[in-house]
């Protein structure tokens, strides 16, 4: 069997081209279905490409949603579970914008704390996580650790972002 076409754009088209909507590219492979579940509303037409080859990542996932752009809340969730992702806005089959998902300094009420004894799992109280940066004197200038690590502001435990379950909205 012949090897599939390997240019990035061609691979994306292998999934399915969409006329209008959002393409989430460069998703860590293990997170592809989580991203799809996050972004899939009842009316949405969603296309999923899993374990596609990527020159940058080795393997990656792609999720395309027709006819809508993602909300700020969805972007925040996306940053938590797929911080390497790029978000492309598609209009009339053309890429209008293509940007890395913005990773905020903190995540408010996006995910459940994975520490079962954390107070946020026992009280009606929003969760909050801050991004953990690498050990450095100038902490604010230090690079974000990949894979993304976060710390619960309340119980002070550190987690790989992928360990956290997103909260239902």
């Amino acid at each position: 069997m012949t090897e599939p076409i390997t240019t990035s754009a061609s691979r994306v088209r292998q999934v399915e081209a969409i006329a209008n909507g959002t393409v989430i590219d460069h998703i860590p492979p293990a997170m592809t279905l989580k991203v799809a579940a996050l972004l899939t509303g009842t009316e949405d037409q969603v296309f999923i490409g899993a374990n596609l080859r990527s020159s940058r990542m080795g393997r990656k996932g792609v999720v395309k949603i027709s006819n809508r752009e993602i909300s700020p809340h969805e972007a925040s969730c996306l940053a938590l579970i797929a911080p390497t992702a790029t978000v492309c806005i598609i209009r009339d089959f053309s890429v209008v914008t293509k940007q890395p998902v913005p990773v905020p300094e903190r995540f408010d009420d996006v995910a459940r704390c994975a520490n079962p004894n954390c107070v946020t799992n026992h009280e009606r109280w929003p969760t909050r996580f801050v991004v953990v940066r690498g050990p450095s004197e100038a902490r604010s200038a230090a690079p974000i650790e990949v894979p993304l690590r976060v710390r619960c502001v309340y119980c002070e435990r550190g987690f790989a972002a992928g360990e956290l379950a997103l909260l239902d909205r």
Binding site: N117, C118, V119, E123, W125, S136, Y154, C155, G158
Partner: protein, 308 residues
């Protein structure tokens, strides 16, 4: 350096200078003795789970300086039992008092409380997370014994032995020691080692960390030996627990190889990990350590109340 109105939730919230300031003020308060620093001030002690030392120590700290105390030591007797949220309990209590001291079984409960309280909240222990007043008193005890901790004249060796995985006092003290010139020596049963997060903190701070082969090496090499309690529930096999318990028990005979200045600390309660014959050696220092809770807690309360 502003402390009035400040929350005392986690040792990680304090800089080196702030920690040193608290220790300095504690020393001044101790020298001053009993007085009326807290006259007209009321403390709430909200102990949602049992405590002996911490609650009594905070209450004594307040009463010795003319302050007053109200509170509870059993959540079963409060509206929490009826389903009241922690936030609502705090919003009610803060109407009555000048400062809240709280112990709670859930990690992060003190920070939640502080977010809704207008008056300072002092964390008296939140689950397995933090117990900052204990860390301040541990540091105060070490600094009193070894002024080099603060002056940096020489590198102290502080050994930690026992359950280093679950002991919040160990985690907080290791984090705090990252501000000072010390070497850390660790000895723990397999599966109860210090979590990587704290080893990373030490590495980031440039603190040397060594793993001791066992308790005898830790005793011979250290200035301070910080013992912790092994909890049976951490060991699925009772036979294994008995075996390990025996190898993490200090007795007077073992201390013959210690430096004369070695002092043994323990956050208490001690169960079997320090034999009672150690109490009669000059190395035992866990009861004076508990006593240091009074000036340290007076310093914290006085600073957050703005009277020191």
């Amino acid at each position: 350096m502003r402390f009035a109105g400040r929350q005392v939730l986690s040792i990680a919230d304090f800089t080196r200078d702030e920690i040193v300031h608290v220790l300095t003020v504690a020393s001044q308060v101790e020298q001053r003795g009993r007085g009326a620093l807290f006259s007209g001030k009321l403390m709430a002690t909200l102990f949602f789970e049992p405590s002996t030392r911490t609650r009594l120590s905070f209450e004594a700290a307040m009463l010795h300086q003319g302050g007053q105390v109200m509170g509870f030591s059993d959540a079963a007797s409060t509206s929490t039992k009826k389903g009241e949220s922690l936030a609502d309990t705090i919003r009610m209590v803060e109407q009555y008092v000048d400062v809240i001291v709280m112990r709670h079984p859930r990690d992060g409960a003190a920070r939640l409380a502080a977010e809704v309280s207008r008056v300072p909240v002092i964390n008296g222990g939140d689950g397995a997370n933090q117990h900052p007043s204990q860390t301040f008193l541990d540091l105060y005890t070490i600094a009193k014994l070894f002024p080099a901790l603060l002056t940096g004249d020489r590198q102290l060796t502080v050994a930690f032995a026992g359950d280093l995985k679950y002991g919040r006092t160990v985690h907080s003290l290791v984090s705090a020691l990252c501000h000072f010139k010390v070497k850390i020596l660790l000895t723990a049963p397999a599966g109860l080692e210090l979590p990587q997060q704290y080893l990373d903190e030490c590495a980031a701070a440039g603190l040397p960390v060594e793993i001791a082969s066992g308790l005898p090496e830790a005793i011979a090499a250290s200035d301070v030996l910080y013992m912790t309690r092994l909890q049976e529930e951490r060991f699925p096999d009772p036979v294994e627990f008995d075996h390990i318990k025996a190898s993490y028990r200090v007795n007077a005979a073992m201390l013959r190889s210690a430096k004369p200045e070695l002092r043994i600390l323990h956050p208490l309660p001690r169960i079997n990990e320090i034999a009672t014959d150690v109490d009669f050696t000059p190395h035992a220092h866990y009861f004076p350590q508990a006593g240091n809770g009074i000036p340290v807690r007076q310093a914290l309360v006085g600073l957050v109340l703005g009277v020191l």
